[in-house]
């Protein structure tokens, strides 16, 4: 699959995200848009999965530890055929299978529940360990937030994954530089982030997380790596791909989306004028 095709897929994911969030009027749009390229590459290219059989034995797992990016994951799952795209418009409605934060007991294709920050990464470590014990060759992919990296549990998990040499674990940091209350560097700086992961014994890549080609190369390299878990620090833009969201910077963590803004965004994503 070439990058042009992946780029088209990513565009549809962004359309799905803004449409589903608009259907309920507001949501975690900024941190959903920033991880679209990572999800596109994982689900369209790298993960061993079967949308017709979401619980397939030996499948690769994905844990969205920054659980509030549920709308991005649902956008991909629907596009992959795990459920009908029309269901995206039930996001956060009472009785929905698509709650704000990922829930493995509600949504086909979700491998782990997350929402209380820091925990999903430890769960991913447990999954990678389980795959090693079962020797089924499965990998576990996980995306953590940059703000989430302020949680102590992230570093407990980091230490243990390296100790267990979990080279079937590939974690991405969505380093979009903003957390709910503002800029990471002003609230509780993470720098030097890549060096921290190296010091914890991880195989570390640092890439533009919104560039398909560069990110793809990092994933390919991480998959080939042995003896260590891999961390891909993705420099991303919060709200990437939709101007009114992107320009809100820190304000786009969770924001309202009107029908007019959605229509404008869909045009913008598909290359038209707003």
């Amino acid at each position: 699959m070439d990058y042009k095709e992946l780029e088209s897929f990513a565009k549809e994911i962004r359309v799905n995200i803004v449409s589903s969030i608009c259907s309920i009027g507001a949501g975690h749009i900024g941190g959903s848009l920033s991880i679209v390229e990572a999800l596109t590459l994982l689900y369209k290219k790298h993960m061993k999965i079967d949308p017709a059989n979401p619980k397939m034995e030996g499948r690769d797992r994905f844990v969205c530890s920054k659980g509030h990016a549920g709308p991005a994951v649902y956008a991909v799952l629907a596009e992959m055929g795990y459920f009908e795209k029309s269901e995206l418009l039930t996001l956060n409605q009472g009785g929905t299978r698509l709650p704000s934060h990922c829930d493995m007991n509600k949504t086909p294709g979700i491998d782990m529940t997350a929402g209380s920050l820091g925990q999903g990464m430890s769960c991913a470590v447990g999954i990678a360990l389980g795959a090693k014990l079962k020797k089924d060759g499965a990998r576990c992919y996980c995306i953590i937030g940059d703000g989430e990296s302020q949680e102590g549990q992230i570093w407990e998990a980091a230490l243990f994954a390296a100790h267990k040499k979990l080279d079937n674990l590939i974690v991405f940091t969505d380093y979009n530089k903003y957390q709910l209350d503002g800029a990471i560097e002003e609230i509780n700086n993470l720098e030097p982030l890549a060096e921290k992961w190296k010091a914890f014994g991880w195989n570390v890549y640092e890439v533009d997380g919104n560039c398909l080609e560069g990110l793809d190369k990092a994933i390919i390299a991480a998959k080939a790596n042995t003896g260590k878990p891999s961390m891909i620090v993705m420099h991303t833009i919060k709200g990437k791909g939709i101007e009114f969201v992107e320009s809100a910077k820190g304000g786009c963590h969770s924001m309202s989306v009107s029908c007019e803004q959605r229509d404008c965004a869909v045009n913008e994503i598909r290359g038209g004028l707003c």
Binding site: M104, S116, S122, G126, G130, L133, E156, F160
Partner: protein, 313 residues
């Protein structure tokens, strides 16, 4: 003989047998495997007895990940660190996510003795009891514990085991097997007052019943090892008969046995209720006889509470 064993040996023997027999069983420790007795398992079964080091949050969520992969992990630590320290990991990674993880917290209540107040879990049951569907079990003695462990393994869902580590008082006869994880047991029949007891307080309640008998009072004893879900049927049947109830627990009286029994009685069979247990105090260091005295958890305290309950009928 089970009665000669430490309770932690009953647990580790069960884990060892099950590691050999059942490929789903895994034990996860957080640097207390030498205290809990699982240390040799880490040498014999390095894949199935895992030590995450001093990181209880990570232990709980890693176990949830393993459970999602089909394993049945037993996570272990001292009571306070296996519960109140990781309450949210138990809530979200394990219970909300419906992962089949068993949580073992050792040294319940005042049995933490010389580790003192910081290590004395007097609120662990209270912390966990409001989490939907979790089962909370406190073994009475080794005979009952050995019979319950397979039921705990076979129950598909989170279970908290509040485990004494040392050699516990003997309550049941060797060979008794009639135990149901979800049923309380009428250990001794009586007509004047009901003593509902858990864990280490069961043998204290038995002693108290003997003292009460000398005073002409007939006490019924209900052993209630599973605090959640509580066996309301057995408690109500006894309360209807005696019309006076005393709860006896090695825990703060808020949130655990007394609260559970009070909820059952208030809603279904209003009955005079008194309680023996820790009341609005933090733990402190000391040996068991001293701690029983300062926290008013001796047989004599149960006798006083029973007489008060009878007087309030």
């Amino acid at each position: 003989m089970l009665k000669e064993k430490l309770m932690k040996e009953v647990f580790t023997d069960f884990i060892k047998e099950n590691i050999l027999a059942d490929e789903r069983i895994i034990i996860v420790d957080a640097d207390l495997s030498k205290c809990i007795g699982s240390n040799p398992l880490e040498k014999d079964f390095p894949d199935r007895a895992i030590n995450v080091g001093i990181s209880e949050q990570n232990m709980a969520s890693v176990a949830a990940g393993l459970a999602s992969y089909g394993f049945i992990p037993f996570i272990t630590s001292f009571g306070p660190f296996a519960t109140r320290r990781i309450c949210d990991q138990i809530m979200i990674s394990i219970c909300y996510a419906q992962q089949n993880v068993k949580i073992v917290g050792t040294d319940p209540g005042i049995s933490a003795e010389l580790n003192g107040g910081t290590h004395m879990a007097l609120e662990d049951i209270g912390v966990l009891r409001s989490i939907p569907h979790i089962v909370i079990y406190e073994p009475t003695d080794n005979v009952e514990f050995a019979a319950m462990l397979p039921q705990i393994r076979d129950h598909n869902g989170p279970v908290y085991i509040r485990m004494f580590r040392k050699c516990p008082p003997v309550v049941y006869k060797e060979g008794d097997t009639d135990f149901n994880l979800f049923k309380a047991k009428v250990y001794r029949e009586g007509k004047d007052v009901t003593l509902v007891a858990t864990g280490l307080m069961v043998s204290t309640a038995i002693e108290a019943a003997k003292q009460l008998e000398e005073d002409g009072i007939s006490a019924e004893i209900i052993v209630c090892p599973t605090i959640k879900p509580i066996d309301s049927e057995t408690i109500i049947a006894s309360a209807r008969k005696t019309r006076a109830v005393v709860t006896c627990e090695n825990h703060n009286v808020m949130g655990a046995l007394r609260s559970a029994v009070a909820e059952v009685l208030c809603e279904q069979c209003p009955t005079v209720l008194q309680s023996v247990g820790v009341k609005e105090q933090f733990g402190e260091v000391g040996k068991m006889p001293y701690l029983r005295k300062v926290f008013h958890m001796e047989a004599a305290d149960i006798v006083v509470a029973a007489k008060k309950a009878i007087g309030l009928k």
